[in-house]
């Protein structure tokens, strides 16, 4: 009993990046009616997002991929629903999309849901990481891609992993070299991993170009070093940096970009889908494989959907996915932090852990030191850790780590991830579909 305002389709794909578009095209190729929802005003995802009216910043290989994917959308006449934010699945199994342009919530009756919501960055908590002017490296890269320029002020890039090098190179290209690039690992010394990465020609070439560009711009590349605190100093930010021997220095800037890796953006998704709609994940949302794995994984997800809909089991195999998995493992080895991870024991009590509600490391430690036996459930419900509007996306891992380091006896379990994505929805938008249905 389809209601008038309801969108009916075979498969709803959430996320218009490489994986989502790839999955949508593959599903349409198999003859399925597909809807593609993207929260932004344009497709592209983290990688293929482009500033309007300026030169593309991705590689020639990247541009070819995007042309191929968008040609597929055109061929199968898939019109993406832009500015449609996925809210979840209601108790009747209907997908809910918040149409931000029209200001109303649309319901979607789909037999399958492909979730291709990409990755979220892993950002380790540090004193001062909650200050304005401190953002994720990916967040800063979004701004660069959106406008083709960097916001005003001096920028320091810090954390761990290859994305920071790519960001620093982008900043150099835009004439705004960062004041420093602080890296917890020491990829220059990790020759074994570097040699094996050379078997992935695309990766090593890209990294070498980024590094050469950053080096020539005179940006200090501080390896084996970590940011221990960010403080406000007048209108600027003072960043304390500790090197591998324990020596410290302070560097000033106006903005700090942090990034310590990425993880699937699968918060709020059910672990297993029961009945319809079938829920399948694609791309970085399933497993972080980067842009090279996303297209292949989108196709694999589409084939999984078709198999599940026809009631057959499918072993999901894609050679490119396996290859990119090996590349990611090597990158992780290459960038392995020089200093051993200490379970965040070094963090001072006043460090903010929960960015949404300002809950601190000290408050968590006090709770854990209490006489009553507690589990992560109590940490969440009584301590409100992981209860903020980000659903624990930026604190759940750190809270779990600190808790288990302090209390190895603690009842383990996920701190978050059992709710569908919570997003701001206006009452008017929720009420709108009923009016349009004339109920």
């Amino acid at each position: 009993m389809a209601r008038p305002a309801e969108i009916v389709c075979d498969a709803l794909v959430i996320g218009g990046g490489a994986a989502g578009v790839s999955a949508a095209v593959e599903l349409a190729r198999a003859g399925l009616r597909v809807e593609l929802a993207e929260q932004r005003a344009s497709l592209g995802g983290a990688y293929h997002r482009q500033p309007s009216g300026t030169t593309a910043t991705t590689s020639a290989r990247g541009r070819r991929q995007w042309l191929r994917l968008t040609a597929g959308l055109a061929h199968f006449a898939i019109a993406p629903r832009l500015r449609h934010v996925f809210l979840g699945v209601d108790t009747d199994g209907l997908g809910l999309l918040d149409d931000r342009e029209a200001g109303r919530v649309r319901t979607v009756r789909a037999r399958a849901l492909v979730v291709a919501t990409g990755a979220v960055e892993r950002i380790l908590p540090r004193p001062g990481w909650q200050l304005d002017g401190v953002m994720t490296a990916g967040g800063l890269q979004m701004l660069l891609k959106e406008t083709g320029e960097a916001p005003p002020g001096e920028i320091l890039v810090a954390g761990n992993g290859p994305l920071n090098i790519a960001l620093a190179a982008d900043l150099v290209r835009l004439g705004r070299p960062p004041v420093a690039l602080v890296e917890a690992g020491d990829p220059a010394k990790n020759l074994g991993a570097a040699l094996r990465i050379a078997t992935f020609p695309g990766l090593i070439g890209e990294a070498a170009r980024h590094l050469a560009r950053t080096g020539f711009a005179g940006t200090p590349w501080l390896r084996g070093a970590t940011v221990t605190a960010i403080e406000r100093d007048g209108a600027r930010l003072a960043v304390s940096i500790e090197d591998r021997r324990g020596g410290s220095r302070r560097i000033h800037g106006d903005m700090v970009a942090l990034h310590d890796g990425i993880r699937p953006n699968d918060f709020g998704l059910p672990a297993v889908s029961i009945g319809e709609p079938i829920v399948v994940r694609a791309g970085d949302c399933r497993e972080v494989l980067g842009i090279r794995g996303a297209e292949a994984d989108g196709i694999a997800a589409a084939r999984e959907v078709m198999a599940l809909l026809s009631g057959t089991a499918l072993h999901r195999v894609a050679p490119e996915v396996s290859r990119q998995r090996r590349a990611q493992a090597l990158l992780a080895e290459l960038f392995r932090p020089v200093r051993e991870h200490d379970g965040l024991r070094h963090l001072p009590d006043e460090t903010v852990l929960c960015r949404c509600e300002g809950r601190t490391v000290g408050e968590l430690r006090a709770m854990l030191a209490g006489p009553d036996p507690i589990g992560l459930r109590e940490v969440k419900l009584n301590g409100r850790f992981g209860m903020g509007v980000c659903q624990g996306r930026f604190c759940a891992d750190a809270v779990g780590e600190i808790a288990l380091a302090a209390r190895p006896d603690l009842a383990a379990g996920p701190l978050s991830r059992d709710r569908w994505p919570v997003r701001p929805v206006s009452i008017a938008a929720l009420a709108a579909p009923d009016e349009s249905r004339g109920e």
Partner: protein
């Protein structure tokens, strides 16, 4: 869509075609986005709608400034000023 200007705390902020509210604010040097209803500070962070730290009031509705395209004549304010 072309560039133009929107109001932030009553003052005009210019933007370019295809730019989000968050990006236009940051280019104008506006990094502090005020407080939410509970008093927590808001500011740009992840850029993908995941952290919910850059919420603003756009013509009276709360939305992520990083996901909302800037458009001419929008009235943008800190969440606290409208819903606090």
């Amino acid at each position: 869509m072309s560039g133009g200007s929107f109001l932030w705390r009553g003052a005009a902020i210019s933007f370019r075609a295809g730019e989000s509210i968050a990006s236009a604010l940051l280019r104008a040097g506006e990094r502090d986005l005020g407080a939410d209803g509970a008093g927590a500070r808001l500011r740009y962070f992840c850029g993908i709608g995941a952290c919910q730290n850059c919420l603003v009031s756009v013509d009276g509705s709360i939305a992520e400034s990083c996901l909302t395209p800037a458009s001419d004549g929008l009235k943008v304010d800190p969440v606290e000023a409208v819903h606090g």
